[in-house]
Amino acid sequence: MAETATLDLKPATLAKIESLFPKYPDKRSLTLPLCHLVQEDLGYLSDEAIEWIAAKLELEPIQVLQVVSFYPMYRREPIGKVHVKVCRTLSCALVGAYKTCEKLEQALDCKRGHTSADGNYTIEFVECIAKCGMGPLVQVDDKLYENCKPEELDGLIDAIKTAASEGPESADHPKPQPGTPAYEG
């Protein structure tokens, strides 16, 4: 096996990773959890990250790459500071999700599937996020905004812009309160 890559992970991430091993009958089961943890820490899954995870789980890097390339939530590239995901599936589309996405694209000067030139925003269409009665739904990082009607987006756009102007969130974020987008996300 190739020499193990080193990764600059936070101590909290490393501790969390170690705590997972006793929970499964087989190390390979940690592939998805480790990909999540490393991506949350470093922003995306680089070649080095994939090699590091593989070594940690005594797998071949291709086995981790297979997983990373299959699941839509994993990224091989860095993205903008704020990740905006618009649900485009039927229930949300019926109440205007496509128009909502267009409006967001204009307001943030960013095409869906891309990152804005200033590096602040990445907009993506995603499939159903399971709150279909409250659509259109927009998930901004780990916050879920409901009823994002194309005609009433000012509040959401402000929230997205504020998120981009703030520094990176601290690792130990405060407990989200019920009824807030952070709780529902």
Partner: protein, 453 residues
């Protein structure tokens, strides 16, 4: 209002002052059923579940007690329990409220189930997008462990079982139980071929495994709480208990509601509960149980003999009682109880194009008919809605769908085929009418509704 909700699973959902912590849950009588169950014989609990007739709430509606009976107990291998919290079928948003607002109800249901089937370990496979939901469950598990409701030697019974929360990463197919198991094992979510890989015999880590939906696990708590025969008295024959219905799309008051099976009709649900259509609109179509179930068209009629009552029925869409048996009589399914409502502003060709974009994106790619078929249908409907539809495309779509159904490893194949077949059967006229309006390359035509693709 004619029919009152009967909130069992959702008793405390959206209740003022109700919080997801264990103290609140126990103040409302939580974990009493587990305490009772842990003193009973596991086989007696399985019998109660069988007698109750409770069916799975993940979409297929298979009787839970029967599924548990299929467990291979002779192999000597450990038994595993997995709660399917993937909630990925479009139009479905019922498990979310249990997870976010009443997580201990799920954990209590899971521990009762784990004890009943004598599981050695349990997992909750939760969709990756429920980021805070996973935190809430992990927190609830630690609270329950501190009170010895899970973990080692549960309540001094000698039975040990832990629950681990496992996050998915955005793939719909991981809701399919064998795809889920592959994903849990750290692989791509490729569904397994059945036979031989029935989870009850060869599931997680090739050990006997039960996979049940979140709502099913919560129902089990109430089955044991009231007893199987008592539970069976609610709802209808073949579909006992309550259902959570999630209504989305074109109604005044979309939302989630819990009713006894068969006690409310589609019309009562849409008009009395959900406030009717939007101003100036009329209902056109209903997908009754999540996006893969067959669509119904307002105005069509269903006739036949009802298997439960033996009586003849002659129903419009509004008259159909919301239970699994009655919907089957009308050629569709109750599925996950996710009702997607479309009014007269909806362009039906754009609607099917929206669904094909979903199923094309989510096919795992293992079987040729599903992989190629769903992508063709996706590409075709994109072209057709984009303004370049041809009359012959309409029959071609049906033809492709017919060749997928029944020829794939998992039911994703049907999930692609059924919408196309049923939309074709019921809305072919609208597709052709739209094609006529498009003319030859006159461009996109959808004068009334929101774009759906």
């Amino acid at each position: 209002m004619a029919v009152e909700q009967r909130r069992v699973i959702y008793k405390h959902v959206d209740e003022e002052g109700y919080t997801p912590d264990i103290d609140c849950y126990m103040k409302h009588g939580g974990y009493e059923v587990l305490k009772k169950a842990i003193g009973a014989k596991p086989e007696d609990l399985c019998k109660e579940v069988l007698d109750s007739g409770v069916t799975g709430r993940g979409g297929a509606g298979f009787p839970t007690g029967m599924k548990w009976r299929f467990l291979d107990r002779k192999s000597g291998k450990p038994i595993y329990l997995i709660c399917n919290a993937d909630e990925s079928e479009p139009g479905t948003f019922k498990d979310r409220q249990i997870i976010y607002q009443d997580p201990h109800q799920l954990i209590e249901g899971m521990m009762i189930s784990a004890f009943a089937i004598q599981a050695k370990q349990a997992w909750i496979y939760i969709r990756g997008e429920f980021i805070n939901g996973a935190r809430i469950l992990e927190n609830a598990i630690e609270e329950a462990r501190a009170k010895n409701f899970l973990g080692d030697n549960v309540l001094g019974s000698g039975f040990s079982c832990d629950i681990v929360v496992h996050r998915g990463a955005g793939a719909y197919i991981c809701g399919e139980e064998t795809g889920l198991i592959e994903s849990l094992e750290g692989k791509r979510g490729y569904p397994r071929i059945k036979p031989p890989y029935f989870p009850a015999a060869l599931g997680a880590y090739m050990c006997p495994t039960i996979v049940n939906n979140v709502e099913t696990m919560a129902q089990v708590k109430h089955v044991i709480g009231m007893g199987g025969s008592e539970f069976a008295k609610f709802g209808v024959k073949g579909d006992p208990g309550t259902h959570i219905f999630g209504v989305s799309g074109h109604v005044q008051k979309p939302g989630y509601y819990e009713f006894e099976a068969g006690k409310i009709t589609v019309g009562e649900m849409l008009y009395d509960v959900c406030g009717g259509p939007l101003p100036g609109r009329t209902f056109k179509a209903l997908i009754p149980g999540g996006s893969s179930t067959k669509i119904l068209r307002f105005g069509e009629r269903f006739t036949g003999k009802h298997p439960n009552t033996g009586e003849d029925f002659d129903w419009g869409v509004e008259d159909i009682p919301l239970d699994a048996v009655s919907l089957k009589c009308c050629g569709t399914f109750l599925g996950t109880g996710g009702l997607i409502v479309m009014d007269d502003s909806t362009d039906m060709m754009e609607a099917i194009a929206n669904l094909m974009a979903f199923y094309g994106h989510e096919s795992c790619g293992q079987c040729t008919p599903c992989r190629e078929g769903s992508l063709w249908l996706n590409k075709m409907t994109l072209r057709m809605t984009g303004g370049a539809a041809r009359n012959q495309d309409v029959d071609l779509m049906k033809n492709i769908a017919d060749q997928i159904e029944g020829r794939t490893i998992c039911a994703h194949g049907e999930a692609v085929a059924w919408p196309v077949q049923s939309h074709y059967n019921k809305f072919k006229d609208e597709w052709l009418d739209k094609i006529a309006h498009q003319g030859n390359g006159n461009g996109r035509y959808n004068p009334k509704g929101y774009p759906l693709i």
